[in-house]
Symmetry: C2
Subunit: 542 residues, 2 copies
């Protein structure tokens, strides 16, 4: 009962056909129909997709479980080549991906073109990281004989096991099928089962074909990658509950993330859940900066707020300013920019509906006033930018004012003085980012706020805007709850590989059996801690 | 209503008085009576303790929360001196600690003397680790202007917040009040609230006074350390549920660990739970090793099995051997050694009762036969060693044979051949350790078993015995469930500091505000990754 279309071709075709990827097979789901619609017209987008059956879900998990021992044991170089092959194929098929994603998400073509580059670049960065080997965090405490003997202990990291990745609506490429979670999990040596986001199934299929093609071309074990289709929480709960799944990566709504965390908590065997959920990304305008360039800040702020219809996890949904010189100029400039904003079509009709409802609810809270609304274009999922305002005391008193409005709505909090600003910052929930606009005269105040921001956010920006997350070695895209369910890690940048690894120690292991990373002669030339000292040399243990 | 005895003296007195430590105060609990008994006589040990009231629990959490911002922001050098002061005071009061712990636990004095040294040594190792600074995992991606501009991103790690530590019954010093979890949490910059183990309240009080004295002497903020008394799950659930607590360290039974994990899972805001629970530490005797030295292995095995009345997390509760030359010699030697074993007094009457019941249950399973029982000495909590046996097929068929018997009972699994051995290993749950006895001729078999063991254990030993956990940089004391609730970390060794840290990134932060670890001139002389390269130099970013 496994309808089989065709083996995965090395050169993926540019048009989606309604297929899922299960191991090396392209198969349609056999469950209920799931179909995306064009967010501009509201019309159904071809082809038809069907949800994975329980049997298909089981098969994807079984293949991932079977692939795991082989996949994790491959030399890092082999996995690096697999990632690079995916990157090359993404770039090669860039135009087809951009066209399909544009149809499904209404995101502008230049943005999507950039996103393909970000996605392939991210894969290449993890390939380089695999070769550098630092991710193994190799440690050696050489054994000693004599008066004070001790065993020889060596530590490295190994992969956790099969990982489920949930594609995100707002980044159909960089946080979806071949996105950050997939890249870091595959780099770590974990097979991946993706649950495609139902709003861009065609894009997801094209990318899944690319990954499957790259897996075939680089001879990865069957089951290293699968992608399933489904809608609602059912398939997600089933995947997260499967005993063969050892970790979960999710980017989406607070409700969705909490549902997944609850499903994971109900498992007999606990697993890590990395759910990135809700963040309103406070921006603090400190007095000297505000006085010096209030109008300019107002314009920059609205540009960040309305970028991509405000559909970024790092969208500035909250802005704090102390009443004083510059605030009027800021408010005027921001109000004008919002009013002049043409609006945009959001990713889906559902998202636009939630956006409108959440904005209405926020505007109706005690003390909240409307400063500006932008225009609303035509389109089934169209939305307009909004700027609301409230005073500091009302903000501090009402935790509901921190509910995320996913889209281009922001709340300007006018604080009476820096004491009220500090109190408001103390009242903040966890965030992905916090931004400070500060001139030199603001540094003493910034220095007192900084520890509060560190305790509440994963990334702190100065004199910039939170939208835009650079992919590199030092990035942290994560933060305290409700920004994520696990603040100990990041979903962007090379540190993300650590999510899917665990340490193993070897005691008095014969040299013939030692993993290369911890061999005396250091054949992989990796940095290690030997007796606590950082070094990259050979070891002479005699 | 806060009964106050006296401020904490710098030189702690050598006799416990029934006090808890809450911030800088020594206070008795005001709840129900909790009292330890001498495991030899069953008689109550003075003084009387009382459980912490809800108000006292609240106060300890409130003080920890208030201390957190100050404590985490101290220069690492300050926290290093605090840890060293604790270590010095532990060594200074060694004899009093050993006497009290001997009375409460019946553990032999030489073992307890060693445990004091292990505990102080562990604190000094974390002090050295704090100074080395590698734990900060500093990363810098310097900004760029020009054609391909990018922001400047710098990453370091900061403390999670107040941590609750549950003292363990079996290590009244090294895994209790000033044990590994406390040492690594304090090193990370997290205030600690210890829930004292009810079986050694006097030892716990003496150590708590030492920590409080060291905190006062090194000018740590009030609330950096508290210790509470309570019995049953109630105080534990309350502490783990407190919103000000940000992580939990636990060493104990599977039931206890699961109860704590469940309490944490019910929190609105999830927190990391590091519960070390249940491990039976399989030992594999490969054919050539067994043939070469079966009798010697039998003797060594029983020495490891009966060490400390078998009350180690790493006690070898399961031993696999392939039928063939050497197995008879091994079995005879082990049987003789168990029969000759004088038995021992366990930590508490409850533990001895559970041990007897679990042994009886294991012996009653299908196919299990008794090979030997040792003598049982006098004493309220006395127990004897036991060796049971079963064949490989029965072991594979019955998961209940993997239930931990905490104490000196082990199960010898006789496998028909190496295929059955491999199948049995595949059937294993997660473990803290797995041990392989192998001669050169066994290496090909060991190489095929090694990946299976890596997936199931945190530490793999060759030609040794799992009891004894070296404190160093490379140690992993952890492993897949049910050994722990979170296999991503270790509770022993310097890697343990990572449990209580999370990464924060700084984007385009003015030099005047940057933390020292990521400043251009690298004033702390720490290893960093700059643009991905490992280095310890100054940065010339112009």
């Amino acid at each position: 009962m496994k309808p089989k279309e065709a083996p995965v071709p090395d050169r993926p075709q540019p048009h989606p056909t309604g297929a899922m990827v299960i191991g090396t097979e392209l198969v349609p789901g056999t469950g209920a129909q799931v179909q995306a619609s064009d967010p501009r017209s509201g019309e159904v987008v071809e082809p038809v997709y069907r949800a994975a059956s329980d049997e298909q879900i089981d098969r994807a998990c079984a293949l991932a479980d079977r692939a795991f021992p082989q996949f994790r044991a491959l030399p890092a170089e082999r996995r690096a080549r697999f990632l690079e092959r995916i990157a090359d194929l993404l770039d090669e098929h860039r135009d087809a991906l951009v066209e399909r994603a544009h149809t499904e998400t209404a995101l502008p073509r230049p943005r999507l073109t950039g996103e393909v580059g970000r996605t392939s670049g991210q894969l290449r960065l993890f390939a380089a990281e695999l070769r550098a080997g630092t991710w193994q965090r190799a440690r050696i405490d050489p054994g000693r004989t004599g008066d004070n003997p001790r065993p020889d202990i060596r530590q490295r990291r190994i992969a956790l096991g099969p990982v489920v990745v949930f594609g995100a609506s707002n980044f159909p490429l960089a946080f979806s099928t071949a996105g950050g979670d997939t890249a870091s999990a595959l780099a770590a040596g974990c097979p991946v089962v993706v649950k495609a986001h139902p709003a861009h199934l065609g894009t997801a299929e094209l990318v899944a074909r690319i990954i499957a093609g790259a897996a075939a071309a680089t001879d990865m074990p069957e089951g290293t990658f699968s992608q399933l289709v489904g809608s609602g929480h059912e398939i997600g709960t089933r995947l997260v509950s499967d005993p063969r799944i050892r970790a979960v990566g999710f980017t989406g709504s607070r409700a969705g993330g909490l549902a997944i965390a609850a499903a994971a908590a109900a498992r007999p065997v606990p697993i890590p859940v990395y759910a990135e959920m809700s963040s309103i990304n406070p921006v603090l305008l400190l007095p000297a900066a505000l006085a010096a360039r209030g109008a300019a800040l107002g314009g920059e702020f609205v540009a960040s707020l309305t970028l991509g219809a405000g559909q970024f996890c790092t969208n500035p949904g909250l802005i704090f300013a102390v009443d004083g010189p510059g605030l009027d100029a800021f408010t005027t400039a921001a109000t004008d920019a919002v009013t002049a904003n043409p609006g945009a079509v959001m990713l889906t009709g559902d998202i636009a509906g939630h956006y409108a409802a959440a904005g209405t609810a926020l505007a109706a809270r005690n003390g909240v006033a409307e400063l500006a609304q932008g225009a609303r274009p035509d389109g089934a999922a169209a939305a307009n930018a909004r700027l609301l305002t409230v005073d500091g005391a009302a903000f501090i008193a009402d935790p509901q004012l921190q509910n995320e409005v996913f889209g281009a709505t922001s709340l300007l909090v006018r604080c009476a003085d820096t004491t009220e600003l500090t109190t408001a910052v103390r009242a903040l929930e966890g965030q992905l980012t916090a931004t400070v606009h500060a001139d030199t005269a603001d540094f003493p105040l910034a220095a007192t706020l900084l520890p509060l921001l560190e305790e509440r956010a994963g990334r702190i920006l100065f004199n910039g805007w939170p939208t835009g997350v650079q992919v590199g070695h030092a990035m942290v895209h994560g933060g305290p709850f409700p920004a994520t369910t696990d603040a100990r890690s990041t979903s962007v940048g090379t540190s993300a590989i650590e999510r899917f690894l665990r340490p193993v120690a070897y005691q008095d292991m014969p040299a013939a059996l030692l993993p290369a990373e911890v061999c005396d002669d250091n054949p992989l030339d990796v940095w290690r801690r030997v007796d606590g000292e950082v070094e990259r040399s050979e070891l002479s243990t005699g």
